[in-house]
């Protein structure tokens, strides 16, 4: 099950956030900074699935934008990875040059 969906840029500014489970508003910013910190500390050779607290993060980087999805244990990480790309392609269809205007 997807817990949240984030689009955060490299400086830590949230561009989009949607939570599917209730999280207090002040905890959200905290969560987002932690998430982006763990994503930024990964190098290119490392895999896109991070074990974070008691759930998993699947992230994908597009230029300076990180799209991070938090999932619980029962989810297929690779399918989510595909899903992120699908999402970006859909956005690209509707609004052109999506990733450049980060």
């Amino acid at each position: 099950m997807i817990k949240f969906f984030l689009m955060v840029n490299k400086q830590g500014q949230t561009r989009l956030s949607k939570y599917y489970e209730h999280v207090e508003i002040n905890k959200r910013t905290l969560l987002e900074t932690e998430v982006i910190k763990s994503c930024l500390s990964r190098s290119n050779e490392q895999c896109s699935f991070i074990e974070f607290k008691d759930f998993k993060l699947v992230y994908r980087q597009y230029a300076a934008l990180f799209i991070v999805v938090g999932v619980n244990d029962t989810e297929n990480e690779m399918a989510i990875y595909e899903f992120i790309h699908n999402f970006v392609e859909v956005l690209d269809e509707y609004f052109s040059r999506v990733v450049n205007n980060v």
Binding site: I25, E45, C47, F49, N76, E77, Y81
Partner: protein
């Protein structure tokens, strides 16, 4: 008032802010403008203002004052207003807010709206944040919409139904009839959401699951849909990198997994399609691999035939060879799950797994390490150990502790020879010595003691290891202990396994003294070193004076533990020199204690079976168990758990028993000398002190004193006294030392003490000092009982005594209830 700015302008303005403070200022200004606009009840721009408010909420700023505005927007007739209103409701409102119930009526009307988009909005919102009351009210409407022919509405209704079921599980039956036709749709959106709905129902209720398996012929339907997806040609609507609707395929596979789990018929029905998916899916892109991964998970979970399982593991093996990190990670995770059940198949991929140990990614390395430990067996131990030791050398510090523990465990189980085992341990201690867990030290020492023929070799290697570097505490502790025990072998150069080195007694003492002095040594290590030096006084011949000097210096050490030891050793030299050699003789082979850690207490069958046992064998198996059975019978087997006690054993252990008595006596007289030391150790705790680091009992450095002792039993001339100690570090452990004395004129022989405690306690009975209670109170039998009392309940105990007295066998039962509160609180 000028028109409020559009959302885009706001976003652009916020982005120009350079600092957090600037951004906050802008947002506050805008919030103020929005608030005043709300107060003026401005209808035209309300939707724009709420949109901006939602954006600011997403950035993390509070926006609760917009909640009522959302409701007003929902009630409006314009679609653009409704759209923003519902979005706001989904983001800002949830069941914690009181206002959300006001929405119920609006949603109800909108569910019956003429425009499908409005109906869609209402369904989305209900499915996102509906509370249980709202769901109960509106479930009927949702169910109606589930049956329409409009696929746009149907798919949204299905998702809404999922939320309703989660909130109000009793309503699940209501949706059952509607699900019959759901899978007959062509529209993938409806198919996908229906599969989600069915999955949710099956997961929540086993009755539903059974129903779907039998009546609905769900499995054949799903198989058919999956087959169409695979076999159909290119369909531009659903294509992702050459595969048709992979997301739907993954969902169906997941539902098949749930249906096939523990059910033979369903599993059989899906065997074919699973094989087909596994073989036909293209693996060049990530999409294909995602589907294969889900297939493998399904195959492993259902009751599939063995051919299919082998196919699945081979797929995982292929994943491991892939260059993509994500795939390797996923493969290792799944292999870890399957290694228990399909061990042999996973073994085939052992070499690939071992290669993954050298990967750069931390999560992959961890998984590979866990998997490697699971795969170690008697055949591959040598090769695997080489790889694991190499890994231990080069891995990150966070792995070293786990890796070291794993290596010890594996070596213990599968070591091909004792020398290999010792070598492996040495290697681990020297490479990762500081990361080895503290509880490994006593286990290692026991291991070394038990491999009698390797003593000389071991002590030589350990000596060489600490010559260069004595900073790794576990290594130094083990080495100090061994040198203390086997120093004579070291000096006499008796090693057969390798080239014996020439070491003099002075050199050995040099190294032990430097350990004592060094700043890097912890207090525990110093204790080991001091005891080792003391033991050498009986094994070395020319350096006894030097040892005496060292020991007396530490008599005034600041460290209480060292000081106490030194003072007692001094007393040994001065007053009890004749006993010194008996006290410090070689340790007997130790029994294996099945505990995991130093403070865990387990009910053990405390029979010792020392290898060098010459006289009569200890009263073995049958007798203690029959005694325990008697105890059970007598107690009626109610709330008391019996403990199988230790049978009195023969010589080697009783030598230890005399030691205990002697030490007991020594300390009684030794306390005046120790008075200047602020040591707060009560008299009869010493049996553990020689066995420091060997037993897994706590070191008595931190004892709470002042617990009064009690007379537990006094009858027919036999008196049993209990004295207590408790450890500050582990307050649920109480150590009771019993002393049995005999005031009659004849000895009591074959004395056996048994005890039983209520179920919430655990008891461990250690060996008694002897089985004879001498007459006229000339001596006592001492025995140590450890009680684990995690719930801090009042201590109660039933004891059973059997002994021979005046030619007849005596037996008695008693209950001990007068435990002082400090012993268990």
């Amino acid at each position: 008032m000028p028109a409020p700015i559009r959302l885009r302008e706001l976003i652009r303005t916020i982005r120009t802010a350079r600092t957090q403070a600037e951004e906050r200022e802008m947002i506050q200004k805008e919030c103020a403008a929005i608030r005043s606009s709300f107060r003026e009840e401005d209808n035209t721009y309300r939707c724009r203002n709420v949109a901006k408010l939602l954006y600011m909420h997403m950035l993390g700023y509070p926006a609760h004052f917009g909640q009522l505005e959302c409701l007003k927007l929902i009630a409006s007739q314009k679609f653009t207003d409704k759209r923003i209103g519902y979005l706001g409701a989904m983001l800002l409102l949830d069941e914690r807010q009181d206002v959300h119930l006001l929405m119920t009526n609006c949603i109800k009307n909108d569910l019956n709206h003429s425009t499908q988009y409005v109906q869609g909005l209402a369904l989305c919102t209900l499915g996102c944040m509906g509370s249980s009351e709202m769901c109960r009210d509106l479930a009927g409407e949702v169910e109606k919409l589930l049956k329409t022919s409009n696929s746009y509405l149907r798919k949204k209704a299905a998702l809404c139904a999922v939320h309703v079921i989660r909130k109000v599980p009793e309503l699940m039956e209501m949706f059952l009839p509607a699900t019959k036709n759901l899978l007959n749709e062509k529209n993938h959106g409806v198919l996908h959401t229906s599969v989600v709905l069915l999955t949710e129902m099956c997961e929540r209720s086993p009755d539903m699951l059974a129903h779907f398996r039998k009546n609905e012929k769900l499995v054949p339907q799903l198989v058919r849909i999956l087959k169409n997806l695979i076999m159909s040609g290119y369909s531009p609507e659903h294509d992702v990198s050459g595969i048709s609707d992979p997301f739907l395929q993954v969902r169906i596979l997941r539902l098949l997994r749930i249906l096939g789990r523990n059910d033979d018929d369903s599993s059989e029905a899906m065997n074919d399609i699973l094989a087909q998916v596994a073989t036909n899916t293209e693996t060049s892109k990530n999409v294909g691999n995602a589907i294969l991964y889900e297939t493998v998970l399904t195959i492993m979970d259902i009751k599939s035939e063995s051919g299919l399982r082998v196919l699945a593991i081979n797929i995982l093996g292929r994943f491991l060879l892939n260059n993509d990190k994500n795939i390797r990670y996923v493969a290792l995770t799944s292999l870890l799950k399957t290694v228990q059940t399909d061990h042999n198949a996973v073994q085939r991929h052992r070499s690939t797994i071992v290669d993954c140990l050298k990967d750069l990614d931390v999560s992959i390395k961890r998984r590979a390490m866990e998997l490697s430990f699971a795969l170690v067996n008697g055949n591959n131990i040598r090769g695997m150990m080489k790889e694991l030791l190499y890994f231990l050398d080069s891995c990150e510090p966070e792995f070293k502790a786990d890796c070291a523990s794993g290596i010890f465990l594996a070596a213990e189980k599968y070591a091909p020879s004792k020398r290999w085992h010792i070598d492996t341990i040495m290697r681990v201690l020297t490479t990762a010595g500081s990361y080895v867990r503290d509880d490994a030290v006593p286990n290692l020492i026991q291991l070394i003691t038990n491999s009698v023929e390797m003593h000389a070799y071991t002590v030589q290697r350990l000596y060489k290891a600490i010559l260069g570097d004595y900073s790794q505490q576990p290594l130094v502790q083990v080495a100090a202990w061994c040198i203390g025990e086997y120093g004579d072998l070291l000096v006499s150069g008796q090693c057969e396994e390798e080239e014996p080195i020439q070491v003099t007694e002075d050199e050995v003492l040099d190294i032990l003294e430097s350990v004592l002095i060094s700043n890097m040594s912890t207090s525990v290590t110093r204790g080991y070193a001091l005891t080792a030096i003391m033991k050498l006084s009986t094994r070395f011949t020319c350096t006894v004076n030097r040892i005496k000097k060292v020991v007396s210096i530490y008599g005034s050490s600041i460290d209480v533990e060292l000081q106490q030891r030194a003072v007692e050793y001094n007393a040994l030299f001065k007053k009890y020199d004749h006993m010194r050699s008996a006290l410090l003789e070689r340790m007997p082979v130790m029994e294996k204690v099945t505990t995991n850690g130093p403070t865990e207490i387990v009910q053990t069958n405390g029979e010792t079976e020392p290898a060098p046992l010459e006289t009569k064998p200890p009263p073995s198996g049958p007798q203690p168990t029959s005694q325990a059975n008697d105890l059970l019978d007598l107690l009626g087997g109610n709330d008391i758990t019996p403990v199988i006690p230790t049978a009195p054993t023969s010589k080697p252990a009783s030598a230890g028993g005399e030691l205990l008595d002697l030490l007991g006596d020594i300390n009684l007289t030794g306390t005046p000398a120790a008075a200047p030391a602020p040591s707060s150790v009560p008299q009869i705790s010493q049996p553990s002190f020689l066995l420091d680091g060997l037993s897994s009992g706590p070191l008595f450095n931190d004892i709470a004193t002042g617990i009064p002792s009690i007379t537990a039993y006094s009858k027919n001339g036999l008196k049993i006294e209990f004295t207590f100690e408790r450890s500050n570090t582990n307050p649920s452990v109480t150590v009771i030392t019993i002393q049995a004395s005999n005031s009659t004129e004849l000895d009591m022989t074959d004395f056996v003490f048994q005890a039983a405690v209520p179920k919430t306690f655990q008891l461990q009975l250690l060996s008694p000092s002897s089985s004879i209670v001498p007459a006229f109170n000339t001596g006592t039998i001492t025995q140590v009982i450890k009680v684990l009392n995690p719930q801090k309940q009042q201590l109660r105990m039933r004891i059973k005594l059997t002994y021979n007295h005046k030619g007849s066998a005596m037996q008695d039962l008693a209950e001990v209830n007068n435990f002082p509160p400090q012993s268990w609180q």
